[in-house]
Symmetry: C2
DNA sequence: GTGACGCTTGGAATCGATTACATCGAGACG
DNA sequence: CGTCTCGATGTAATCGATTCCAAGCGTCAC
């Protein structure tokens, strides 16, 4: 592969001049510029990003560590992150943690070793020492979707409380009284928050959320299935189940179907995180939709702000309920319930 | 961030010795090794991968350029690629081409600039000059799923011909005679091959595949919808539609549903590429399943072979038909039809 | 006792860029 | 006409590692 020296030799100038041409430095004569450009062209020269990074201490690369690539929510997030990053001149290296803290740390370490300019994380657990150290050491960092409390890192996420209230209102209106939740890991903020929001919304209707109706899942399909089977084995099974993410909802659907039961006639089902497939399932699944694309873009903008020395802002967007048929035939005419109680965008500087 | 010099100073040795300890070079005294390790520990030193790459001309990184991250098939492929790569000591940088040749080239250029050790591509089009140059220039490269004919690069893919024959047999047995296909872009091998396999299989039953029954899609959901609408507008619409990928099948399902029609009663539907969601759609979709995970792993092994100087082998695995309910109630008892005509694995050295 | 050998170790070159500093020449101005 | 300024250019240091080469030193055999 041709190096800058080869170009310099071919153009009859020094490497400094070649570098100046390549970096659009003003003081280069038109003649020298033309000769360099010609040499670059004829040699098919491309600057070595590795060498450049070593010298400038910038890789123009963002690291993104997500909890689970197979989850369409995170796939869409990854896609929007890459898009916005590309628009701002950055590349993205994605690490898939598969909901495993050890894998998460592996990827964080790897990305740090590669001297990425900044890190976007949706933490799998509550506090990897590695990540805390990195944050303290000043690595530009932004949490997306999930976060770690007590760390001074901007958070970009969706607030689902209003939408959960709408969901509970919807379930209540359809006559469901024994409602259960398939929760995510308590170590994740989304895991615990969704349970709390659900419990609070139920309380407003005087409905309890007994412990046997809180199933412990791990955001993966298998756990949704397992928990749902547990619910169905109960002497008094719930008449509605809320899955804290889409994969666990899929597992729940599996479990219900395996028993020869039907949604929503035998049991209602709703999910956090809406995905295109929910329109086509049997029945279409009522879900809480996050503004995923906007979340990804906002997270990148915040991170790049931080990297380039501007103040980075935390961002909270609103999620909304999308009613379909999995909780019963809806009496409402509106299929999407807006959540006027929460402003569409809240910004706070961190 | 601490550098090797800091470690050397702290341990009272030269940088050469530190480097030897870090790289497990044999001739280092136990005493020196202990002091270096202690210094590494207390400084929290981590070698700078950028500097190391510059010097050794190896990044231990693989590039993966896929056609569309939102397609669950490619997501699963990406996941298995990353897994196998990690097991072999490599990281993966994923580029999403979104079925756009310009984006594909952007990512290839970017990855080449970063001096990745090897490139895994599922080409969006038939022949980007950039990719041809890279292949000729000796960049270790492997095509996965799709390939570019006439380039001397190993190909790892699934052969779907036998499964397509099984699908046609299935459709024929259920009485479907006017069968149509939503094809992928002719510029991709998978796009054209699937049409040819389908046409050939139909011919064996004396069934035609008229041009009006070949809809031109682009592997994205919207095109599946558009093409299906066109089919339904025909004076004599098909009674079965085969979508050449899962996203277009989703679009087709949309279109059928939007007309108030039902699958399979009004029109049968089958797809290439099976995904977990197809079990839960209304109705469950009959699909041709590729051994996606094995494909990804085999591709990485082939690429790493090439990188590390061993001969790389092309690999062809068999796809299989998974019968569900979207083509009509199946008379067979077996839900998975094995394809005994094709051996499970074919290997050929390239 | 001494030369050879082998194990450790350090010095310094190197990878391919960027960039501070020095130099050179030409034009401007008094 | 001398000097000052400024634009264009080159030299060389530098980023953080790896690795070749030479040197130091202890041990062993003769």
């Amino acid at each position: 592969m041709a190096s800058i020296k080869d170009v310099a030799a071919a153009a009859g100038v020094s490497v400094a001049t070649v570098s100046r041409v390549l970096n659009a430095h003003p003081s280069v004569s038109a003649d020298a510029r033309a000769r360099v450009l010609a040499a670059v062209e004829s040699l098919g020269y491309r600057p070595n990003a590795v060498a450049r990074s070593l010298r400038t201490d910038q890789t123009h690369t963002l690291g993104l560590v997500i909890s689970d690539v197979l989850n369409p929510y995170f796939t869409e997030l990854a896609r929007s992150v890459e898009e916005e990053a590309r628009a701002l001149g950055y590349s993205v290296i994605i690490g898939n943690a598969d909901e495993r803290p050890d894998l998460q740390d592996h990827h964080v370490r790897n990305l740090l070793d590669r001297r990425i300019d900044g890190l976007l994380v949706s933490p799998t657990d509550g506090g990897s020492p590695l990540m805390l150290d990195a944050a303290r050491a000043g690595t530009p960092m932004v949490f997306v979707d999930r976060w770690i409390p007590g760390v001074d890192v901007p958070v970009v996420r969706a607030d689902g409380r209003a939408a959960v209230q709408d969901l509970v209102a919807h379930l209540h209106a359809l006559g469901h009284r024994r409602v259960a939740i398939i929760a995510g890991p308590a170590a994740t903020t989304t895991g615990s928050e969704r349970v709390e929001a659900f419990r609070a919304a139920l309380a407003a209707y005087g409905l309890p959320l007994p412990d046997v109706y809180i199933g412990q899942g791990d955001f993966q399909a298998a756990s949704g299935r397992r928990v749902t089977e547990g619910f169905l084995d109960l002497p008094e099974p719930p008449d509605a189940v809320f899955a804290a993410d889409n994969l666990m909802a899929l597992g729940a659907l599996d479990a219900v179907r395996a028993r020869g039961l039907r949604v929503p006639d035998d049991i209602a089902l709703a999910a956090f995180d809406d995905i295109p497939w929910f329109v086509h399932t049997d029945p279409p699944v009522t879900a809480i939709a996050q503004p995923t694309g906007e979340l990804g873009r906002a997270a990148v903008r915040a991170l790049v702000d931080r990297i380039e020395g501007r103040p980075a802002a935390s961002v909270t967007l609103a999620a909304r309920l999308v009613v379909r048929r999995s909780c019963g035939e809806a009496p409402e005419t509106a299929r999407i319930i807006p959540t006027p109680s929460l402003p569409p965008v809240q910004r706070s500087t961190t």
